[in-house]
């Protein structure tokens, strides 16, 4: 199985990279862009068959290491 973990700054935490991206895009003529947020994606290869328990374990991983919940939120998707 594969777990796709998406991590981004929480709403309300200033994201200067996202802001720079949005500004560059509007400079390039993509004026419909009003905001951008930058995050990261971590792909994990996981042993086992049980998607539900895998998801629970990956959530634990996020809490313990992958995300800093002071500033970041995360979401987990399991693919078989």
């Amino acid at each position: 199985m594969k777990a796709i973990v998406q991590i981004g700054l929480k709403p309300g935490v200033l994201d200067p990279q996202g802001r720079a991206i949005a500004r560059s895009l509007t400079d390039l003529g993509f004026e419909e862009v009003t905001a951008a947020r930058q995050g990261k994606v971590i792909e994990l290869d996981i042993k086992g068959e049980d998607a539900a328990s895998a998801e629970q374990r990956v959530n634990e991983m996020c809490e313990k290491l992958l995300a800093n919940t002071v500033i970041e939120s995360y979401s987990v998707k399991i693919e078989s």
Partner: protein, 220 residues
């Protein structure tokens, strides 16, 4: 008086920290490798140095904060052992939860290295008592993720309790309320992005950092 410096893979200010501690205590500092499981019980003061522990991959300080030696460090710090983290060391301390908040990427998006003027906002602490009436000091800064963030409630609490020890004059990185250095509630754990350990030598960065080390050493 026994001091120690914890080193992680790709710590790189460990020598700077060791030199500063030796200069102030007159005794060599013990270097503790991250794989060791315990801080020796006779150590009186621990520095977590700057650098790029574990390449700063994932998040600055994230992996170092979960290494075996830091587990023991957190326990001892909670029992009162003085611990100071500079730069990457500050990031590690926030990742462990010993200090509140987190360090985001600099608002200007670039790494920034320069002599930085700081205002001492509380001289009545174990880390700043030696500065007396001194208002401003210059320590070098050198970081990419030094933009201090905490929610308003935390910031209010820090300021109200005198736990903000240093503020930036001309904020170089976007830190909330110009905060440069903070301590924990008990006052034994301190972290800041600037480098007092690089300001102990007239030929290199000035000597404004000497009183920082003298303060904490004398308080022990």
């Amino acid at each position: 008086m026994k001091t120690a410096v914890i080193t992680f893979p790709a710590s790189n200010c460990d020598r700077d920290a060791r030199m500063a501690l030796e200069k102030v205590t007159g005794r060599p500092a013990q270097m503790i490798w991250h794989r060791e499981s315990e801080i020796p019980s006779d150590v009186d003061f621990v520095v977590i140095p700057g650098g790029f522990s574990y390449g700063d991959y994932l998040r600055c300080g994230a992996m170092a904060a979960r290494s075996p030696i830091v587990k023991d460090l957190v326990e001892k710090a909670n029992k009162g052992l003085p611990v100071a983290g500079f730069c990457n060391g500050f990031q590690i301390l926030t990742e462990t939860g010993l200090l509140p908040g987190a360090l985001l990427m600099n608002q200007g998006l670039n790494f920034v290295c320069k002599p930085q003027k700081l205002r001492i906002t509380n001289t009545n602490t174990r880390y700043t008592s030696g500065y007396g009436s001194t208002q401003e000091v210059v320590y070098p800064i050198a970081h990419h993720e030094g933009n201090y963030y905490a929610d308003d409630a935390t910031l209010n609490k820090l300021e109200k309790n005198g736990r903000v020890l240093f503020k930036y004059v001309d904020n170089p990185n976007g830190s909330a309320r110009d905060i440069a250095g903070i301590c924990n509630e008990a006052g034994n754990v301190f972290g800041m992005m600037p480098h007092p350990e690089r300001a102990v030598d007239p030929l290199h960065g000035g000597t404004d950092g000497l009183n920082f080390f003298k303060s904490i050493i004398e308080s022990i």
